[in-house]
């Protein structure tokens, strides 16, 4: 009779946070019956999550190079050809049609001639890597960077492109990289969220919260969105609630909850909820503290550009400084968004279809100084040794200008991202696009490879970090991905 239960259910080992009501000391009936049929497959490694402290720091699968992640995401598809991917041939053949077999039709329609970047390329750093004048200060840091010039996307549309770049799926509803990492590793700071998404001062990116979604992972692994201007929602009671009233309510709540728990011993879901109010109280102290940028020296503030008369630059600078302060305090995954959708195509993000130079003249400076200052600051503080920095965007742009326009259309077939810091080669370039920067031709890289590598740097095997949802062991890398060993230091 008993064995008709057999075979398991994987679900029983995949215990959700809330299902831990029985306590960790207990044993799941079906746990005892291991499923041997999958013995020769890579078994998932499930993080053991303490319901009282779901964000407690957890061991990775193997010794990591990076302990935390800074992920700068440029929304709107930042052109590789006007930033990092130097193509002399494009300059030489400026104004000529691109040699293709058929009419070149991309996302918005027909394309015109090949067009060199309006920004000049220069050699920078010791390594002499060519980068453009659009981002001169970041360009000066090329010796820290490890470029991947051969990234590819599966879609040429922003919405699916952004979810693909941040969750590994073109469909919405999947957990973002930050959610996966905090699910696996928890956080080193129990008083702040483990995964912070910092929206651009201009607004949220194209698919908004889908970029930092927990998908089907427990909500505790969702990115908490706040930036230097707007703090965590509901962090403090409104001013109409006095401090003593606030304390009285919370004290009464605590007593009622403890009384309630006493009659229901051993229910960890109840005590976890009591603990969540304590964490909330700690968050109320630590979140404002981390956002107090005034604690930084004037020199630091200026270096980031907080004093800039350009309010968007100053705003992004504040976000960058906030990011450093979060990382410094042990927050596991900080994702900085650069570019916002609400203002329309190209106006507030990197989607330069029609007037690329006009758009990028605005966007370049907003990104450049603050992000460069952040990178330098991390290096100066020794944090690059165990922090992985990612700079990425959803896809690239065409080497041609759109027919009748002064900008570039979407191009998922070849674009650039870079990594820096813990565990990656410095002053290194991996993969390449063709002579015009149109298609990745050398060491073609997918988002799956990209994330397989990032997880690897964090000490995680991307094939074993999985979560059962709706019939499938889901992974950040779906069923694909290879670690790019060539870029590891």
């Amino acid at each position: 009779m008993q064995l008709s239960l057999a075979g398991h259910s994987l679900m029983d080992r995949r215990r959700f946070l809330g299902n831990m009501g029985g306590g960790l000391a207990g044993v799941a009936l079906l746990d005892l019956l291991k499923q041997q049929s999958q013995a020769d497959q890579k078994q998932p490694i499930r993080p053991s999550i303490d319901s009282q402290h779901p964000l407690a720091s957890r061991q990775p699968h193997f010794a990591p190079k990076a302990k935390r992640v800074l992920h700068i995401f440029c929304s709107g598809a930042c052109s590789q050809l006007d930033t990092w991917d130097y193509k002399p041939e494009l300059i030489k053949r400026h104004g000529q049609p691109m040699p293709t077999n058929s009419k070149l039709v991309t996302f918005q329609g027909e394309n015109g001639a090949l067009n060199q970047s309006p920004y000049a390329f220069k050699q920078r750093g010791q390594s002499g890597k060519f980068t453009s004048d659009l981002l001169p200060q970041l360009g000066e840091l090329v010796d820290e960077m490890c470029f991947i010039h051969s990234l590819t996307s599966k879609t040429n549309t922003h919405g699916p492109g952004e979810t693909y770049a941040n969750t590994g799926f073109t469909l919405e509803g999947f957990p973002s990289a930050g959610a996966w990492v905090t699910y696996a590793l928890g956080s080193q700071n129990q008083n702040l969220p483990a995964f912070v998404a910092i929206p651009d001062p201009r607004g949220v990116p194209q698919v908004g919260p889908a970029n930092w979604s927990n998908g089907f992972l427990p909500a505790v692994f969702q990115g908490t969105a706040f930036n230097a201007i707007s703090s965590i929602p509901h962090l403090q009671p409104p001013r109409s609630v006095s401090k003593s009233d606030d304390e009285a309510a919370r004290d009464l709540l605590k007593r009622l909850n403890e009384e309630h728990l006493k009659e229901r011993p051993g229910d960890t879901a109840l005590s976890a909820r009591i603990a969540s109010y304590e964490l909330a109280a700690r968050l109320q102290l630590s979140a404002p503290e981390v956002a107090e940028l005034g604690q930084e020296s004037v020199i630091t503030q200026k270096a980031y550009g907080i004093d800039s008369p350009n309010k968007f630059l100053a705003g992004f600078a504040r976000n960058c400084l906030l990011a450093r302060r979060l990382l410094e305090r042990g927050v596991r995954y900080v994702q900085l968004f650069n570019g916002a959708y609400a203002m329309g195509e190209g106006v507030g993000n990197w989607d330069g279809h029609k007037q690329l130079k006009k758009d990028y003249d605005r966007h370049g400076p907003i990104l450049d100084q603050p992000a460069a200052a952040l990178l330098k600051d991390l290096k100066a503080r020794g944090m690059l040794d165990d922090t992985l920095v990612i700079w990425a965007t959803e896809f690239g742009r065409m080497p041609t200008f759109q027919k009748g326009a002064q900008g570039r259309d979407h191009n998922p077939d070849g674009f650039t991202a870079w990594l820096a810091g813990a565990g990656v080669k410095k002053a290194f370039s991996y993969g390449a696009t063709d002579e015009f920067g149109y298609k990745a031709v050398e060491k073609v890289t997918t988002i799956y490879d990209f994330y397989a590598t990032i997880l690897h740097l964090l000490g995680l095997d991307h094939e074993r970090l999985s979560y059962y949802h709706n019939g499938i062991e889901r992974r950040l890398t779906d069923v694909h991905g290879h670690v790019i060993h060539d870029i590891l230091s």
């Binding site: 679900m11 306590g23 999947f174 427990p218 019939g471």
Partner: protein, 913 residues
């Protein structure tokens, strides 16, 4: 020589096999069982496909595998050297058979072969997988403690507990039971009166009466309909980049609620959702059930590339196949999009066969022909017209004064001769780019600014790439956001009209959106100037003038009348909108099916052969249609296959969902996956018994609900003795065997509904368009919360307008599905953000205050009475001595709202025993 040897071969085999025989008798089956798992399908290994004669002759990446003369054959070499198949080796006799077949010319006497992916192996399910077997109602098992049993289902539970050496928990008291079952069936807390009444009801059928009453309540459908909406990924926007709103998707939500309330038989329930337009043609209430098909995401971003367009359509169809498979069959059919299912007996061809069923289904609103509603709408529109024109006349008069309004403003000044008129905007209300829908300049009663009369508009800048916001719209005579100008400068810009000739003007009328849809981008600081030469300018008026203009006494009445009219008009407009959304419903539109092809690796650009509609062969009774079958036939055939009692999956899946929501975990703990990767039933006989009972009841839910909630299993307490608990946890910590009732947290929606009910503010109006928590900007959909939360949002949360990825700011954090993927089972996570939301959100503080008012009003000024009443309302019990004392101290020192704030945050309110 060659001829000779060949003829010898032929002769020597003639006795054993005929030429035809060798293929049919052994090779076909050998290929199927030993080769095709790798060498067939859309991505055969080594690009060698051995499933058809043509592909066999074509060979693979190493070239031809069979030479024409039958002599040299790579295939035979690999087989003879025992390199192939690599694992499941061939016997000598089998190798001999291959040798004979190949050397005799490898004749293919039969159709193309399918791999036997329906065979079970230790790594995958086959046709013999448990959930695909016919439903078998077994006899009730024997139990020792038979006195405990109240319902047949109890025997299965008790039997398993006993065989594991476990006992049961004591029975829950009436108060606990009432609270549990009311939350479970209706999602609402019991009222103090209900509690008293039930506790006092000594009739032997008190429990049964209670359950009959609850199941008859229309709120049952709201509660259980919400569960269904989780499963079918219902939401009210497209998702993705634009996330466009679906204002008329709610009729499907209402259909779901009605279907549960009516306890619609399963067959009908399925038929209407897949083919309501066929089985309920002309019956709009039920036609809208096809909203199921298009409840998912839909990428509408224009894409000029053929790959992009094809991919979008494939994604839409994928969503439909995936939702249908997981919802009704509990199978992850979607996994077979790019290849045969890796774990379940579903081929890639079957995936596309199901896709063919939906090949005529489009994401769109559908016109519903309903003469009654249409007539009603027409008469409403007729009623609205005179009121609107009356209002605009009044507005013309009153729009002279007060802060600039989004709809319309009139500026008046002493008559002046002008050729040029310029409006310079120096600030907008929200520091966004200003918008003007039309600028009218009057000479007497004539608008002289119209471009049709030769006037020319110019401006400082224009919003880029927006065809609806161009400079020429300033004076094109068309109003509304879609014919407006927006500058490209935040908070500023100027717009100028050059009149056709010098005119004596005395009045300017302008607005941001005269159609009243948008109120953003409104100029708040501006000036109007006039000029004869375009160089020297005379100031006409500024925004300040509006503030200082006095209301002429004669206008006072009109201001009042205008307010009245506006209110009336608003009500009429809302009503008309609601009617319109019933006549243009987002429930899919249907056309003749497009061709569907098997796609290599699921890539829409790599079409293989055309596929006709067909079912999954390993499930129930197979069927297929020809490629010429109509759209309606296809969907109806699928619905009937799902509804057929011969299909064992749907009934099992449905009763398991029922169990899942009653007990927190299903008998199969993966409610939408009954395949190889899903859970196995904890009580397989019970699952089948329930499924049989469900089918026997004609696929109705309510009799099963009744049986379950009246069972001894369900009536157990959630707390048991320390000893029973520690013993049980050693064996079954997850309580899958139900040695006590599982305590559960309220879902986001029920939590919000309950708080409103407790504070006395729950608005129980059912149905119709949902309430909206958001305000929207016009360029793209950006969601900003409406605050403070208006009282028109105090309906049950199932009626909350639900755009994808946008969560309720207070309750979304409680694992509320965001509508992007199906959510057959919700997480219950506990986070600090949930705590902050319940403590500090404006909604919660408002409700604490409202509850305090209610307590004062209903319990009088004695704080002890107020506290007692609060406990009764929120927790369904009186406070204990210590609780009362602690609460009293708080109330005395800090007031009732502080007590209420604590009470509404308690674990006891959120966790149901």
């Amino acid at each position: 020589m060659r001829l000779l040897s060949l003829s010898i071969l032929l002769i020597s085999f003639a006795g054993i096999y005929s030429q035809d025989g060798i293929f049919r008798d052994s090779i076909a089956s050998l290929l199927q069982t030993k080769c095709l798992r790798c060498h067939s399908g859309s991505t055969p290994k080594g690009e060698l496909d051995l499933s058809s004669e043509r592909s066999l002759r074509e060979g693979g990446s190493s070239g031809k595998v069979i030479a024409m003369d039958g002599k040299k054959s790579l295939l035979l070499e690999m087989i003879e050297q025992r390199k192939m198949p690599p694992k499941d080796k061939l016997t000598d006799a089998e190798i001999e058979a291959f040798r004979k077949w190949i050397q005799s010319g490898s004749k293919w006497n039969g159709p193309a072969l399918e791999p036997k992916s329906t065979d079970a192996t230790p790594k995958r399910a086959g046709k013999d997988w448990w959930s695909l077997q016919p439903i078998r109602r077994s006899a009730l098992p024997a139990t020792r403690n038979s006195g405990w049993i109240r319902q047949p289902i109890d025997t299965f539970i008790l039997n398993k507990l006993e065989s594991n050496g476990l006992g049961t928990a004591p029975e829950a008291d009436r108060r606990t039971y009432l609270r549990r079952v009311k939350f479970d069936l209706l999602g609402l807390p019991p009222t103090p009166e209900e509690i008293t009444q039930f506790q006092a009801d000594t009739a032997p059928d008190a429990y049964e009466k209670l359950i009959d009453r609850l199941l008859a309540s229309p709120h049952y459908g709201e509660r259980w309909g919400r569960h269904w909406l989780d499963v079918v990924r219902f939401a009210e926007s497209h998702g993705y980049e634009t996330n466009e709103l679906r204002r008329s998707a709610w009729p499907y939500r209402d259909w779901v609620i009605r279907a549960f309330n009516e306890d619609k038989p399963f067959a009908r329930f399925v038929q209407e959702q897949l083919a309501g337009d066929v089985v309920a043609a002309g019956d709009i209430q039920n036609e809208v059930a096809t909203g199921f098909l298009v409840a998912g995401t839909h990428d509408v971003v224009g894409n000029a590339t053929p790959e992009g367009m094809a991919q979008q359509r494939q994604d839409d169809l994928y969503d439909m196949v995936s939702a249908t498979g997981s919802t009704f069959l509990g199978l992850t059919v979607n996994c077979a999009r790019c290849h045969d299912h890796k774990f379940d007996p579903i081929t890639q061809r079957e995936y596309y066969g199901l896709q063919a069923v939906f090949a005529g289904t489009q994401h769109n609103t559908r016109r519903i022909d309903d003469p009654v509603l249409s007539k009603k709408l027409k008469s409403l529109e007729q009623e609205t017209k005179p009121l609107a024109s009356q209002l605009s006349k009044l507005e013309g008069k009153t729009s002279l004064i007060g802060k600039a309004r989004a709809q319309m403003n009139t500026e008046s000044f002493p008559a002046i001769e002008a050729r040029y008129v310029r409006m310079t905007i120096v600030e907008t209300e929200r520091h966004d780019e200003p918008c003007i829908d039309e600028m009218e300049i009057y000479e007497g009663d004539t608008n002289v600014a119209l471009s049709s009369k030769g006037a020319k508009a110019s401006a400082s800048s224009a919003f880029p790439d927006a065809s609806i916001h161009r400079i020429v719209h300033l004076n094109d005579g068309q109003v509304g956001n879609s014919h407006s100008w927006i500058s490209n400068e935040q908070g500023k810009g100027w717009a100028q009209i050059e009149l056709p000739q010098n005119c004596k003007i005395d009045r300017i009328v302008w607005g941001r959106d005269r159609l009243r849809q948008f109120a953003d981008r409104l100029p708040s600081k501006y000036r109007f100037e006039a000029s004869l030469d375009g160089k020297t300018w005379t100031l006409l008026c500024t925004d300040q003038d509006r503030l200082h203009r006095q209301v002429p006494a004669a206008l006072a009445n009109e201001v009042e009348a205008q307010k009245e009219l506006q209110k009336k008009l608003q009500a009429l407009t809302t009503e008309a909108e609601a009617l319109r959304s019933q006549l243009q419903v987002y429930c899919g539109s249907f056309k003749s099916p497009e061709k569907v092809y098997l796609l290599k690796r699921g890539d829409p650009m790599q079409k293989l052969e055309e596929v006709a509609p067909l079912a999954i062969a390993s499930v129930g009774v197979p069927w297929n249609l020809s490629v010429s079958a109509s759209d309606k036939e296809r969907r109806l055939a699928l619905a009937n296959w799902i509804a057929s009692p011969a299909n064992p999956l749907p009934a099992r899946v449905m009763v398991n969902r029922l169990w899942h929501y009653h007990f927190g975990t299903g008998l199969v703990n993966t409610p939408s996956d009954f395949g190889f990767n899903g859970g196995k039933p904890s009580h397989p006989e019970l699952l089948d018994w329930l499924a049989a009972e469900y089918q026997h009841n004609g696929g109705r839910m309510k009799p099963l609900h009744k049986m379950i909630v009246l069972s001894a299993t369900y009536r157990q307490a959630s707390t048991t003795t320390e000893k029973v608990r520690t013993d049980a946890e050693k064996v079954d910590a997850d309580n899958r065997l139900l040695w006590r009732f599982p305590r559960r947290r309220l879902e986001a929606e029920i939590l919000r509904d309950s708080i409103l009910a407790i504070s006395g503010n729950l608005d129980l109006r059912m149905g119709g368009p949902g309430y909206d928590l958001w305000k929207y900007s016009n360029y793209v959909v950006v969601f900003e919360p409406r605050e403070p939360t208006p009282a028109d949002t105090f309906r049950r949360m199932v009626y909350q307008f639900k755009p994808r990825t946008q969560q309720d700011k207070t309750f979304g954090a409680f694992d509320c599905p965001d509508g992007t993927l199906t959510m057959p089972r919700r997480n219950t996570s506990t986070t600090a953000l949930q705590a902050l939301n319940l403590l500090n959100s404006e909604f919660m503080l408002d409700q604490s205050g409202r509850l305090a008012e209610r307590l004062e009003k209903e319990a009088g000024s004695d704080p002890s009475r107020a506290i007692e009443h609060g406990f009764m309302l929120a927790l369904g019990r009186k406070p204990k001595g210590q609780e009362l004392e602690t609460s009293l101290a708080v109330v005395r020192q800090h007031g009732l709202p502080v007590f209420c704030r604590a009470l509404l945050n308690t674990n006891e309110l959120i966790f149901i025993d």
